[in-house]
Structure formats: structure tokens, C-alpha cells
Symmetry: C2
Subunit: 584 residues, 2 copies
């Protein structure tokens, strides 16, 4: 027996196997998943495993290595999140998400830090040796909402799309803030004196870390798209590039102390549409499937390790500090959401209801990121207290909040996600309105989201697509793609029902006579097939595009001082220019 030789891959494989089997076992009984979230059960499995290891070895089981977590377990989950991010609701609410992620996180960090410092002043608790900086450092790691935990719970409760993207988007983008604050306070802890210039440098870092991450991500995303232009003869390694480039973007960002999470999300969102157009259908299935599989396994492993790491003797149980941490986490988050939403609602027509606000505050789950960060702390005499407090906060949020959020959503009758995907009619309508609003914004000189979206789309079709797509002369609109997808699905269904055998298969027949001869016997499905013939669609699009752009180009801008049809095109341009200058 030569165990040492194969130990590393053998144990890794066994852990993954355990995680997968736990997942299967969990889904074997249909009632279980509807009551307990999967994350809770996996932590529970981990606790049992940890207990067994502890019992057998009589020493603390190994804790989850922070390096393993940040380098190997987190990236697949974030990549999956970024690749399947619903881009429309994300960009529609980007302002609100950023407000929650940046201002909300800073609010929580300082709120929790200062109030815990207050608690430390109470002599009865014996915590006077915990300095303000240490409390702020602890605040910075405990304040961040965890994307893995949020995703695990919110995927099961099916709240409406806007609510989901607000909580989930915040949990992803607050990484930049957390990284900066955590590193700032950590370096402050080690400095003898703190100058005001250091504080200002810290503020400047926010932008560097966040925007730098976006830049790194987009660079790698575009390179990935460009690379897949050349894989036509060697389809089999296409899926690889999606994974390699996004992982490289994460590692590069981490290497330069930028936000890896932000980078990988930017990379995934940036490359998605080009890669999808370049690679084959089977490659794409593989990419999607493998991404889901990988993130699902990572997710499972994280929760199991979280459970295993909880067992042991790494903790200092100072209960007042721990309990106040939990309470302050809840209070400051609730206050933060209330105050920020008040401002958000003043500027938006489509406001966030008080029910939604409650779920946003209540859905602020903490998870493995806090846990890894607390283990990365430099050694000092109260580290074990921080570890204990973090563990309790995570278990409290995942178990208590995670398990009660579903009944609460039911009780409050929070608006749910619509079950069915939008119909093609709706999609055409939405597209039409986008064009219309872009035109209106342009005319009125307001530089809103539709204006930017339109500009981006123009830039994309004019330059990016030509560089990044293999067959850029025939760019397909998303509606045409949807139609093709529906067709393919329908065809497979037909084939599986065994109905297709009666149609002729000679390609020549199809091209010439079959269409005419078959038309007689076709019973048309009014809802879809008729309206969505590719020719008809192209027609619609052409009409839409031509007419909408014509309005922008030649239509009169509404103005108090002019009458319709009065001004010349040149005059328009001037007017729009003046309006723009004003709005600047």
C-alpha cells in the first residue's frame, strides 16, 4: 500500500465525492429541500464530519485554508454568477446596487466597529484591551454580505427579479469595499502612527481597486472573445478558453491587490455575448453545464468546510461581545437599508416597497468570505474571540435568517418572480421601448441609461463585433437567436415524440418542393410561428431601426419656443448641443 504517493489527489477527490453524494442524498427526499435550505444541511454535514475527525484524532480538525478558498473555491461560484447574471435588471439598478455596496458597507463597517468599541468600554465584559482599530478591522470583515450564502438562499425562495438583483449585486460588488477597508485597517493596526495622508490614500484606493478590477476583467474578456474567433477547426478546446481567461482575470486582479470578484464578473459579462456567438452549440452547452457543475460543487464544499472548521478549539467564548456583534450586525444593516432606500426612492419612480426593504435587510447573510478573512488576520491575543464571533454570526445568519426567510416571504406576500419567461411579443415590445426611450433621451438632452445603452450598442456593432466575432457580417439580434432556440427545442421535442419521421429528410426536397406541398396541410400556431418567421422578423427590425433613427435624425425636438417642423436639421444639432451643455 502506497498511500502517500496518491494522497493529495485522492483526498481532494474524496472530498468532492462526499460533497456530491451529500447533494444527491439531500435531494432524494423531496420534502427536505422545501423546509431547510441546502446550505444549512451542508453545514450540518460538515459539523458531523468535524465532530468525527475531532473525536478520532483528539485534536481540532483542519480549518478551511484561506488560500484554497480564495484561489480555488470562490472563483467558480463568482464566474457562474457573473456569466449568468441577468444583465438587464443589473444595469437598470446599478446605481442602487452601488449605493448599497459602497455606502451601505462603509456605514455597516463604521457602525459595527464603533458600537462594538463602545461595548468594550463596559468594564464588566473584560474587553478593555480591544482597541478601536481592532474593532474597526473586525467590523470591516463582518460587515460584508456574502455572495455564496446569499445565492444559496435566494435561489430557493424565488423573490422578484429586482429584489434578487439588489441583494445579490450588493453582495458581489461590496468585495471591492471590503478588500480596501480590511487591508487599510490591517495596515493601520501594524503602523505606529496613522497620518491623515494614509486615510486619503485609502479613499483613493476604492476607485483603484474597483475600477482596476473592471478594467482587468474587461481586458481578459475581450481577449477571450478574440481568441474564440480562431477555434473553428478545433472545437473541442473552445470551452477551455472561457474558464482559462476568466480565471486569469481573477488571479491577475488578486496579484495586483485589485478586486478579483469584480474582475471575474466584468470578464464573464463582457465576453459572454461574443463567445456565445463564436463557439459551437455543443461547446456552449458544455460551458454552461460545467460552470453550473463546478460552482455547485464549490458551493457545497464551502459549506461543508465551514461546518468542519467550526468544530475545534480555536474559539474564545466571550458571550457579551459575540451577542452584541450579532445584534449590531442586524441593527446597522436595517438602519442602513432604511436610510439609503429613503434616498433611492426619492429619485426613482419605481420605488422599493417597505416589504422589499425588510427582505433586503434580512437577506444580508454572512458566509465563508468573512470566515476566511478572520483566519487571515495577523496573530494577536484576541484573534480567537474574533473567530468565535464570526462563526456565531455566520451560523446565526445562515441558520436562523436562512431558514425563516422563506416563511417570511410567504407571510409578507413579497412579490415573487414570474414563473414564465417573457413572451416574444413582450420582448419585441421591450426592445421597441428601448429604442424609443433612447431617442427621447437624446432629444431631451438627458444622458440617461438608455442613451448610454444605445451608444454602447452602436460602438459594439460598429467596432467590437467586427474584431471579436468570426462572422461579423451577419450579427443576429437576440430575438432571432431566441427564435432559433425555440425552433431547436421544438424540433427536439418533435423528434422525441417520434413525430418527425413522417417529414421528408432529403435536403433537396426541403429546399424546393416540400415547403409548398406542406403548406396546404399546416395548421398554424397563431401565437408564435406565424409572426416569427425570420423574414418577417428581419423586416420588423429593419423598420424599427430605420424609423427610430430617422426620428432622431430628422424629427423636430420639442421646445417651448419652436413649433413642429420649423427648425432645420442643422438647427436641431445645435439645439441638442446646447441642451447637452446645459444638462452637463
Amino acid at each position: 500500500l502506497d498511500y502517500q504517493h496518491v494522497q493529495v489527489p485522492f483526498e481532494i477527490t474524496l472530498w468532492i465525492m462526499l460533497a456530491s453524494l451529500a447533494k444527491i442524498g439531500f435531494h432524494l427526499y423531496n420534502k427536505l429541500p422545501s423546509v431547510v435550505p441546502e446550505s444549512c444541511l451542508l453545514i450540518f454535514v460538515g459539523l458531523i464530519m468535524g465532530g468525527i475527525i475531532y473525536g478520532l484524532n483528539d485534536k481540532s480538525p483542519p480549518v478551511m485554508d484561506s488560500d484554497i478558498f480564495f484561489l480555488y473555491l470562490l472563483p467558480p461560484i463568482v464566474l457562474d454568477a457573473g456569466y449568468f447574471m441577468p444583465s438587464r435588471p443589473f444595469f437598470e439598478n446599478i446605481g442602487t446596487i452601488l449605493l448599497y455596496a459602497v455606502v451601505g458597507t462603509i456605514w455597516n463597517v463604521f457602525g459595527i466597529g464603533f458600537s462594538l468599541y463602545g461595548i468594550c468600554q463596559v468594564k464588566a465584559f473584560r474587553l478593555q484591551d480591544v482597541s478601536l482599530l481592532h474593532n474597526l478591522l473586525f467590523g470591516s470583515l463582518i460587515a460584508a454580505v456574502d455572495p455564496v450564502a446569499v445565492l444559496a438562499v435566494f435561489e430557493e425562495i424565488h423573490v422578484n427579479e429586482k429584489l434578487h438583483i439588489l441583494v445579490f449585486g450588493e453582495s458581489l460588488l461590496n468585495d471591492a469595499v471590503t478588500v480596501v477597508l480590511y487591508k487599510l485597517f490591517r495596515s493601520f493596526c501594524e503602523m505606529p502612527t496613522i497620518k491623515s495622508v494614509d486615510v486619503f490614500a485609502g479613499v483613493g484606493k476604492f476607485f483603484v481597486v474597483g475600477l482596476g478590477g473592471v478594467l482587468v476583467g474587461l481586458t481578459f474578456g475581450m481577449t477571450a472573445a478574440f481568441t474564440t474567433r480562431f477555434t473553428k477547426d478545433i472545437r473541442v478546446i473552445e470551452p477551455l478558453f472561457v474558464f482559462l481567461y476568466s480565471y486569469l482575470s481573477y488571479l491577475t486582479a488578486e496579484m495586483f491587490h485589485l478586486s478579483g470578484i469584480v474582475a471575474i464578473i466584468a470578464c464573464a459579462m463582457g465576453m459572454k455575448r461574443y463567445v456565445e456567438a463564436n463557439i459551437s452549440l455543443k461547446s456552449h452547452t458544455t460551458v454552461k453545464y460545467f460552470m453550473k457543475m463546478w460552482s455547485s460543487v464549490s458551493d457545497t464544499l464551502i459549506f461543508i468546510f465551514l461546518g468542519v472548521s467550526t468544530i475545534g478549539e480555536n474559539h474564545e467564548w466571550n458571550w457579551p461581545y459575540i451577542c452584541f456583534t450579532v445584534i449590531f450586525c442586524l441593527i446597522w444593516r436595517a438602519l442602513g437599508v432604511l436610510v439609503l432606500t429613503f434616498f433611492v426612492n426619492r429619485f426613482h419612480v419605481n420605488t422599493i416597497t417597505s416589504k422589499d426593504q425588510f427582505i433586503i435587510a434580512y437577506g444580508g447573510l454572512r458566509g465563508a468570505i468573512c470566515f476566511s478573512l478572520v483566519f487571515l488576520l495577523p496573530d494577536f491575543h484576541r484573534k480567537k474571540l474574533f473567530i468565535a464571533a464570526t462563526t456565531v454570526v455566520i451560523l446565526f445568519t445562515v441558520f436562523v435568517q436562512g431558514m425563516t426567510i422563506r416563511p417570511l416571504v410567504d407571510l409578507l406576500a413579497v412579490k415573487r418572480k414570474r414563473e414564465s419567461a417573457p413572451t416574444v411579443g413582450e420582448q419585441i415590445h421591450i426592445r421597441f421601448l428601448d429604442h424609443l426611450l433612447a431617442g427621447i433621451e437624446d432629444i431631451s438632452g438627458h444622458w440617461g441609461q438608455y442613451y448610454w445603452k444605445d451608444k454602447l450598442e452602436y460602438f459594439n456593432s460598429k467596432y467590437l463585433q467586427k474584431i471579436l466575432l468570426r462572422e461579423y457580417d451577419q450579427p443576429k439580434s437576440s430575438i432571432v437567436l431566441l427564435y432559433e432556440k425555440l425552433e431547436r427545442k421544438h424540433a427536439i421535442e418533435l423528434a422525441e415524440a417520434g413525430q418527425l419521421g413522417h417529414a421528408p429528410s432529403h435536403p433537396s426536397l426541403l429546399r424546393s418542393g416540400f415547403l409548398c406541398s406542406n403548406d396546404r396541410s399546416v395548421i398554424t400556431d397563431k401565437k408564435l410561428e406565424d409572426t416569427l418567421n425570420p423574414d418577417v422578423l428581419e423586416n420588423i427590425q429593419e423598420i424599427l431601426a430605420r424609423n427610430l433613427y430617422r426620428i432622431r435624425r430628422t424629427g423636430p425636438a420639442y421646445n417651448r419656443h419652436t413649433l413642429p417642423g420649423e427648425t432645420e436639421p442643422v438647427e436641431h444639432a445645435k439645439e441638442i448641443l446646447i441642451l447637452r451643455h446645459k444638462s452637463l
Copy 2:
């Protein structure tokens, strides 16, 4: 900049990226792949990389770590080979393959070892200090044909299926022999005296290592099939089990010093049909795609590393020894193939032609397995000579033989692989003949391959399928599965040609009126659709099964002493029994 933190995953990702980009670059120019095999070009890229590293660092570039090779790079390739192994030609030629793999390899090991020992006795070459045992040890590692190199070259030259499986099967199965002989001679080298009992123990080990590998592989394969029975609710992790269990089988076999290659092949071949039936279509696409992708990347990395490792100062250039090694490798292999094929051809109707024999001998490429084994040798003063000789043999076989084999195949007009897949008619015919031959063998009391195949099929449908398949009450024959696959492909083609939009999509319509109304306008494709209606197929199968088994059950066995219709069924049974006893 914090490079150390991300170094390991960053460098791995970069190496994989380099490999993938080299592959893309290689396929960008269509003429290149038709002249030079990919493996040669990749080694060349590796040589350049190694040269750059050598030039920059002024020390030898890192050699390929044997552990990394055996634990991480080899398994994906072997898994891919096992999973896509054409089982019919493999089992039809299993006897010949085993003869080549076991007897042929032993022949080569001792032939090369003893003749090199003879060379060492020539005083002018200054090799007197290389003992017989060391020569045999070297022979054991240089004799084994390498599956990675064989696959890389033979996949490009498209020889006929039998020739391909003979060379490729040999290269896979000789692993058991190589492992045993290599370890045997290695331990002999370290022993002070060798007893005859050790030699006999070595012979016994052949069977343990080979059959143990098969057993481990089949155990894990069946467990994998059983596990996929329960993944219905959680499709996304299905592909994972295929990889996890096969990798575990490899690691377990290696742990017990059995043949990992044999284990992973047995696992892959064993689980394939059950897993395919259990998992969803998309999961299966992912499995296939990812396996191909993974093995392709591994393959690329191996050849690049081979090139990189060649550069450096690990070599002792004793040219007589090196040249004679190359010559003996060629001579002994050619002799071995000639002698073994002489015996094989005496027992087979379908003989191996002399052209085929030449290609089998010439296709005995050496590769990364030899290279890894030579680095695993214990340190002794002539290790660098062995490394140099191995490097030259590998480069010679891959470059000279690999590049000239295609022109030789053209020149000799070796029978090529048929371009098209067998038609459905042929497949039905083959199946029919299988049944027929099984019946004939049973009646004649000859326990040939068809008899065993039939028994295995019976055991499979009676017991295994019930345990391992989720929906075991409706086992589908391979013809029905093929039909479904064709239908699906056809449907997708139709959809992509935009012809399907004219068919009704209401499921209710399909089920009731559509069939009748459409029948009028159908122009039938006589070749496929008509004959292969599922009902018709089932009919065919039922008739085949009932009649063939009836022949076996009630038909009269031909016998010199009886006339047709004379004997009773009970008599038959007796007669068959007697015949069987005789054949035993």
C-alpha cells in the same frame, strides 16, 4: 504586486493557455497538420520554450515531474481512450492484443536488455560497468509502446479499425507488464542476492496487477453507474461522477501497486452504457466534450513538457549505447511482431497481412511514459546515460517514425478506415449474425466469443440493468437508440434550415390530427424513415429474438447420427451437455 500568493494556479493556467494557443496556431494553417503530426510540432514548441528558459536562467529548465505526469496528465488521456474505445473490434481482437501486450513486451524487454548487455561487453565503448540487471531495467522501461504517442499519430493517419485497435490496445494493456517488470528489476537491483522464489513471485504478479486493475476498475464503474441512478433531481452534477469514479479507480489501483491504466479503462468501458442511459442528454454531451477537451489539453501539455525537459544537462552522450538502443528497439519489435503474428495467423481466418504487420512494428512509438519512468529510476552513476538514450529513442520514434508513417501508409496502400459509419441496415445485419453465431456456437458446443457475449448480454439484462439503470423496465436496443439519435440530428438540421416553423407545435395537435393530415403530403425517404419506424423496429427485434432463441431451444442440432426432427427437446439438452463436456 503579490506574485507568490497566486503563483501555483497562475503558472498552471498559463501553461494550459500556452498549450491551447499552440494547438490553435497549429490548426490555423491547414497545410501544416497534413504534413507534420501535431505531436512533433508540440515537442518542437517545447524545445524552443526550454531553450528560452535555459538561455534566460542559465540552468536546466525544470523537467516534467513524474508524479504530475502519472497523477494528473496521464489519467484524462487514458479515460478518454477507454470511454471512446470501440468495444466491438477491441473484444474481437482481445486475444491478439493480449498476446502482443504481454508476450510481445516481455520479448522486447529481454531482447533489448540482453543485446544491450552484449554491447556493454565491447571494451571500446567503455560501458563495462553497466550490469545485466541495469540493462534489463532499462529494457523494461524502453520496451513499452506509449498510448499517448500512438494515439496522437494513429488518429491522424486513419488506418483500418483492426490495425488501429491492435497497436492502440497493445499500448494500453502493456502497462500491467511494464509496471511489473520495471518494479521487479528495480527491486532486484537493490537486492544483494536474487532467489528463484522472487522470480516466480514476479511472474505471479503479472496476473495480480492486471486482473486486480480490471477488478478495481469494474467495481468503481458499477458504483458510478449505480450512483447515477439517483441524480434525476440534480442533473447538474451528473457529469462529475463519471470523472470522479474513474479517477478514483485509477488512484486506488496505483495505491495498491496495480495497473492504474488497466483500471481506468475497465472502469470507463464498464460504466459507459449504464451511465449513458441514466444521465440526461446534455449531461452526456458535457461528459463527452469535457473528456475530449481534457485529454487533448493533457496530451498537448505532455508533448510540450517533453520538449522542455529535453533541453539541459541531464544527459550523458555515449553514442554507441544510444545508437544501439534505437537499433535494438526497432529490430526486436519487428522480430516480435513477425513471430507472434505467425502464431496468430495460424488460428484465425481473418489474418494480419504483411503490410499490417509492418505498420504494427513501425507504429511502436515511445513516449512520455518511458520518459517519466527513467526519471523515477533510483540514482546511480549511469542514470544520465539512460536518460539520454530514452530521450533519443522518444525523439527518434516520434519524429522519424511519426512523420514517415503517413507516407508509408499511402505508399503501401494499407487498408484505410471506411469513411462512413455503417448504415442501419448493416447494423441490423451484424446484430442478426451475432445472434445466429451465438446460437451456432451454443449448439456446436464451442465456447467462443459469441457464446460469451450472449451470456454476458443475458446476465446484463437479467441482473445488472435492473440494479444499475433508473428505468430498467424499458431497456432500449442500440438500434433504437441510433434511430433516436438520427431523428434528433435530423430535427436540429431541419430547425436550423428554418423549415420546421411550418409544422404545428401544439402538442395536442401532434397527438391527434396532425399525423393523419400530414400523411397526405409526405414524400417519404425510402432509405431510412420508412423502415425504421419504432413500431416496425420493435417488430423486427421481437421476431429476431423469438425466432433465434426458438432455434436454440427447439431446433435440431446437426449431428452425424441423427436426422432432422428426430430428437426430442430433452434429448437436445442432453446432447448439448455431452458436447460441452467434450469441448471442456
